[in-house]
Symmetry: C2
Subunit: 79 residues, 2 copies
């Protein structure tokens, strides 16, 4: 089985950090290569996140499908 | 390492089903015993979900910490 791609987008907010620590660690590393992207520091990747359908952070994109986890900040607030 | 407990609450809605198929399968089964609860069919467990801090479905509770994933329906709408 080839590995899928999981991208966890966050912005360093408290809601993001808790989700990162719990959710990212819970993902099966045998199934997914997990990349964590801090959009506050990597603003060039905001467009990628938007293209994947991400509206707010924290969000987890599993093989291109976005899942918004709780609510920390709107993507618009990071621009 | 003893296994943690992951409970995925949903109500059969389309948003719930997509999250269940992707997110539940992505969880590392070596770390967590995953239980899926359909609150539309198991209304007696709505109180448990509320006690864990769940406000809407779909939601994933990892060792007691609730994470709301996208938005399908309010818990109040299921009562």
């Amino acid at each position: 089985m080839s590995k899928g791609k999981a991208v966890f987008y966050h912005a360093g907010c408290p809601v993001c950090v808790e989700a990162e620590q719990r959710v990212v660690e819970a993902i099966d590393a045998r199934q997914y290569d997990v990349v964590v992207v801090h959009l506050g520091e990597a603003r060039s990747q905001i467009a990628d996140a938007e293209a994947a359908g991400v509206k707010s952070v924290p969000a987890l994109v599993l093989d291109g499908t976005p899942f918004h986890i709780n609510y920390g900040a709107s993507l618009d607030d990071l621009k």
